[in-house]
């Protein structure tokens, strides 16, 4: 239930896959493996570009329509940043295995039919990007994602970054946004009731979380001591993870 834990990641955790990553944030733990470019099946083969195949596997139970929906959203947004035209007639396969997702302690859940929450999407997305980086798949840009929930409590509006399952349940609307490293909006999925004004606020909050680099954050922290902005600086996190991985790989003696 601790929603404010800092994101953590490990790259290259699986020895046999081309690239892999384990990512944990806000109670979600996801492991991803990337294989590619590999031989595509005849039905998936595209004469001009690589087929990006995303498979989401829940920790318990069989996947259903929700998982297929998440897969299709992730597939279309990841295909935007991977340079698919470099690998015609091939396949880039991304498998996302959910290991743990935070549970609502006050409800006993039904489990045979797994139903993944909307709020898991940033974790899935981030793991996929990290695994793609680990596999060395050429990409136009890296990307960062976050979830924002809007809830109304006694007349006042509250914006929650990385909401817990309980907060998602009580929220008016939940939004998942992803930005590329060029500050472009890559993915915007929303659920619930909201106005355009509210969406603009969400956009502001999410872009602050996703697009802020470390230097800016320090500057703000020094001037305003800005604590309530909420959420970690995702781009800085991605960069520092990669930097430490590269440093470890080059340290060969």
């Amino acid at each position: 239930m601790t929603a404010t834990t800092a994101p953590e990641a490990a790259l290259g955790v699986l020895p046999r896959a081309d690239g892999s990553a384990k990512y944990s944030h806000a109670g979600y733990i996801v492991t991803a493996s990337v294989n590619g470019p590999i031989e595509a099946q005849r039905r998936d083969e595209h004469p001009y570009e690589a087929h990006v195949d995303v498979i989401v596997r829940p920790a318990a139970g069989v996947g259903g329509t929700r998982e297929r929906h998440l897969e299709s959203i992730l597939q279309s947004s990841l295909a935007q940043i991977i340079l698919v035209r470099n690998f015609p007639r091939s396949l880039i396969q991304i498998v996302l295995q959910v290991e743990h997702s935070p549970e609502n302690d006050y409800v006993n859940t039904k489990l045979v039919q797994a139903n993944l929450n909307f709020a898991i999407m940033p974790a899935l997305f981030q793991t996929a990007v990290l695994a793609l980086l680990s596999a060395g798949v050429p990409m136009k840009a890296t990307a960062t994602a976050t979830a924002v929930a809007l809830s109304h409590q006694d007349g006042s509006k509250r914006t929650i970054v990385d909401p817990s399952p309980r907060e998602v349940e009580t929220a008016q609307s939940v939004h998942v946004l992803a930005f590329t490293s060029h500050d472009e909006l890559l993915l915007a999925e929303s659920e619930g009731d909201f106005t355009v004004k509210e969406w603009d606020d969400v956009y502001e909050t999410a872009s602050k979380v996703c697009c802020q680099s470390a230097l800016q954050k320090e500057g703000i922290a020094m001037v305003l001591d800005d604590e309530d902005a909420g959420g970690p600086a995702m781009r800085h996190f991605l960069r520092s993870t990669m930097e430490s991985k590269v440093a470890a790989d080059l340290h060969w003696k």
């Binding site: 699986l14 020895p15 046999r16 896959a17 492991t31 493996s33 294989n35 590999i38 031989e39 099946q41 498979i55 596997r57 920790a59 318990a60 139970g61 069989v62 396969q93 498998v95 295995q97 290991e99 743990h100 549970e103 302690d105 006050y106 409800v107 006993n108 859940t109 039904k110 489990l111 045979v112």
Partner: protein, 293 residues
Amino acid sequence: MPREVEPSLNERQFVLQALQENLRLDGRELDQYRPLELNFGEEYGVADVTLGKTRVLAKATAEVTVPYTDRPLDGIFTIATELSPMTSPSFEVNRPTETEVLLSRLLEKTVRRSGALDTESLCLVAGQKCWSVRVDVHVLSHDGNLIDAACFAVVAALRHFRKPDTSMEAGVLTVYTPAEREPVPLSWLHSPFCVTWSFFGEDGEIAVLDATWLEEQVRMGSCTVSLNKHGEICQIAKLGGTPVDAVALLQCTSVALTKVKEFSELMDRRLAEDLKRRDKGGFMAQLRADNDR
């Protein structure tokens, strides 16, 4: 889907000749396992087993359902083994391969049919309500000896698992959430483990434990023995391959027993460590109001 890469002729001969000379590529003895590690997750019923480069994650879950009509006094216990392309790109989603079928069959025979979990204790209201316990086996990385690792993970997950507490009052069944009452462990009767032998050589005269993926690809046959630490054999599966001498098989079973004793000791130790880590000092410690100074 791309086919699994097969070892080349040179590779094959190198491995086989080394085994003839009692040598293995990773420097192990013929009857030595790779380092086996067991870790438990934050929640109950998650076991992460690492055996060399093979890694299996098992997660146990439970929910209340209606029992099967022909078995009104039994709960439901299922083991789901689905190999994803994460294991190897040659596995496809929703299309079981032979490996997957054999794995789920062996786990079924070892854990379910041997009566390791008392399914009658899962019954809540005869013919109406029962627990359905499900174990999901996720193979994250496959470097040989999947069966032993998966079986160890399943047993560990089930022994670590706690199901929600229930009570019956005046015909009303109440299932308590974790916030209301501490979950309770399953009624577990014995812990069976699989030990897989691989046979090499013309007549299968070289028996090797814990084969890696490369060794599995060049072996002549294999035999899986499932038994618990008391030496009670649950099943022996010798599916095809070269015929093996009966005396040699007996020898294999007795070695398997020593391995199983090591396994169950490791699991007991890890479970005790995990229990200690979770134990906050009992009920009185939770009620305490004074600070640690």
